[in-house]
Symmetry: D2
Subunit: 286 residues, 4 copies
């Protein structure tokens, strides 16, 4: 039942929707007409109300997806298509400890917290106090503050590592390679690292750094989301497309110890990163 102070999503269509906190005297003026908050009070989530221009609007209970899509942002946010794949590829799950380097607007923080809560926790670090204030507000609105510890800290120059035994460390910085040694120290054995890399150049530098810092199972991906207009007899992809957001890079902490356990030959010449090479070198004939 929708009440005073409930959060709701007024939904008209995919591009016209508004996340609001219900306040009985408030009205929302939109080009599809005026939406009176009081019309929603006492109704079930999912009900529809009508604007003064006779347009139907659904009053939905906001999900984490809605909070993220309506986040106030000072920086580029990580979009749901990428958030989802981060969870799936790393196997992020309820109860885990997640570290985030680069809080940004808190979209990823909010999403990770919604997954790892209530026994898990997200530790997030940034250097920009202005962004941190925005992020704090966003995280709070989505009800995730309890599962998030936010700290102003420059990990590049940090002398003490603030977290240990993290299951996953996520880096959202312009120069992610600068914090790989610190990220590594915060991870548990074979823990996962993820980096948000909007450019190919970032991927390239990052992968080099990951190999040098003894990471394995390195994978760089791009996730493309297309929408389909499924209408009887006229089904096709949408005319509008979503453009580039970011590439992602995944890896797992390994130990490149040099003493092989099963050395057969006397003069064994081991190529240090051999298994990884396999990953990016296959069939390359540029």
């Amino acid at each position: 039942m929708i009440k005073q102070n409930s959060y709701v999503l007024f939904y008209y269509n995919h591009t016209k929707k508004w996340l609001q906190k219900i306040s009985k005297n408030k009205s929302l003026h939109t080009h599809i007409g005026v939406i009176h908050h009081s019309d929603a009070i006492g109704k079930k989530y999912g009900s529809r109300i009508i604007t003064n221009k006779d347009k139907y609007v659904y009053v939905l209970e906001p999900t984490i997806f809605d909070y993220i899509m309506k986040i106030q942002h000072g920086t580029q946010i990580v979009y749901p298509k990428d958030l989802g794949y981060i969870v799936a590829r790393t196997g992020m799950q309820s109860g885990q400890r997640v570290v985030e380097i680069g809080t940004g607007s808190g979209a990823l923080t909010t999403f990770a917290a919604s997954i790892v809560k209530s026994r898990g926790h997200v530790y997030t670090f940034d250097v920009n106090e202005e962004f941190m204030k925005i992020a704090e507000k966003n995280i709070k609105k989505a009800g995730m503050s309890k599962y998030v510890t936010m700290k102003k800290m420059d990990l590049k120059t940090a002398k003490k590592i603030p977290v240990k035994d993290a299951d996953i460390t996520i880096i959202d910085l312009g120069d992610p390679w600068t914090v790989i040694p610190q990220a590594r120290k915060m991870l548990k054995d074979s823990g996962a690292i993820v980096s948000i890399c909007p450019t190919m150049n970032q991927l390239e530098k990052l992968v080099s750094s990951l190999v040098q810092n003894e990471f394995t199972d390195i994978e760089c991906t791009e996730n493309i989301l297309r929408t389909i207009d499924a209408r009887e007899g006229k089904t096709r992809h949408s005319f509008q497309a979503i453009g580039h957001t970011t590439y992602l890079c995944f890896a797992r902490k390994a130990f490149f110890d040099k003493k092989p356990s099963r050395q057969k030959k006397k003069n064994l010449e081991l190529k240090r990163h051999e298994p990884q090479n396999k990953i990016y070198s296959s069939a390359f004939k540029a």
Copy 2:
């Protein structure tokens, strides 16, 4: 520390990796040589061992991603790229109640359980006992049995609805439209429905059924995952591509009550599904 009976992922590269339960006398014969389980015992996760063909293999702690990619399957599984987007688009989170109609091999069941645990729960239904046995084994191996209730039941003909107030209902059937009324009854107000639809025809029929059954915020998507070989001076997309897996359809339970709350005109002619129409009709000029 890896011990007898620990699960490990022996990782050589993206296409050569083996999920195993450590057993001290066991050996794994692969074309990159023999891997002796005993070599892993006592080591930290992330360590590397060497085969008798002098190839390095990493011993990783399996994640939910690894369990899903190595699932024993009798049916087509839902892949991580799609699993991730289901979580992100519906806002699936720890603590929720999720219903799954069509257990299949249990990949989606396992993944959903890893998210909603430990306070949430997954209720999954299937009619094929053979698949259910496979799924049960897969769910157990990934440690998720405690958070899953599995039941043999044909929801199309079920007289009693077995679950109420679900946050999300996921349908993985060849004819998803046949269970929409039942799926609706199991959902909480404005709860989310998701359907795995490998063909365009399924999407088309499903969307019609969703509109008839009073769902809103209908969206059909396709998620494409590409991998990038990020190598210094030679960065490009991978020569190998992942083909089609499935399309996805999302919607939210609404109430198309007919009495408008703010009717101004006497002879108001309301088009029943107007807001939805907006979704798929925009700019269509086939």
Copy 3:
């Protein structure tokens, strides 16, 4: 050398460019300033001139690409990414006879004429006189009128086939399956058929019709064009993406004669369309 009456493309960037016929007293008012035609006269193609807002504009010699992108259109045009693949997949070449059913705005007509000229020819048919007038103007502007015969004719009901021995027949109608028998009659042996199909439903009906009308080598495609911003140290895909335009369907005229030439068994049971089945049925496990 640019002269009075020369066609030029005033090029500022990818989204701001103007196709003009030079007229010495004409000025083009744009938001990047006024472009005086007279500034271009006497210059080499590729020169740059400057607007009264001090912006550089290049004066390029228009190519067929420019004419098509700047076509006046009453209907949806076929875009270069699709035009190019039609040429490549059918092997369209200089000297061929091409039939087009559905002239539309003449973009495809213009492009095909530019390829098959000067010994080849394009025969194009439409029923809408209004579109035909627009198309005629567009084809003329691009200098292709000489290589195109345009006729108002409804091929669905035509009693006489107006062209024979075409190398390629291209159909751009909402219901392409209605003209397959006529399209077949116009084609030479093993000639190619192409259809512009914006929806999946069209593809589905068309393929059925092609099989029934003895076509082989049936292939349905979708061509996605992405642009890349290649900038030193910041290379990535463009934030803007091109959405759906159309799907394409290709096939070749065959003869499903029933008398096999090398029948070994007495009771040979031949599945009529076997080789085609192979095409679309492989690995389907919906």
Copy 4:
């Protein structure tokens, strides 16, 4: 009518097809059975013959597409999806002069010749005699030798420019930036340059070189081809996908003369490459 010495494509399905020169005593042994060339003689193109394993095979007249897909290659060929877009984006047409730097196996040479013939011409240069012999054979088989001039020549160090007034210059080298000044000299005013770049790094270096060498309308693209299995009631994208082939870069020859024609202010500070910047810098916030 198929005769002795005719080229034919024996077509079973998209992955099983054979380009052959008919020779009455020849037989082709395939896993779908033996195909006797003599069975095809006297038949119309498009007819079907039957193997000794009772499989139907169509005897098609090869198109340029077939010659290219069946080319004998020592190097990576340029695929039809990319060939098509090169033609469409540059507006390549019958009668033009095309220069190719890097003949490779001659796929692009063959395709370009089929478009520009019979009045146009392709001039192609390579340094590898072994590849050139293969290319020569491939071009000849497709009947295009007459429209192609092939020369062993290293354009990087060439003192004399062998061609002038080319409409289009296509570069297929690992280091395309090394020949931009020469390519420019061969082009007519505002003529088009195209480069085949399999890596992002090549695009990046090339674009810098193009800006320095006074090219405008620079565009980098990636063309993705997907196939669709359109079967009644089961239409979907194919499970198999085509992976990465190459990126493409396009530009047009311009003149960055410094004397503006309409200089209003005395101390006008002109940013040299301003219009181009617009292309790749829009909205970049990495």
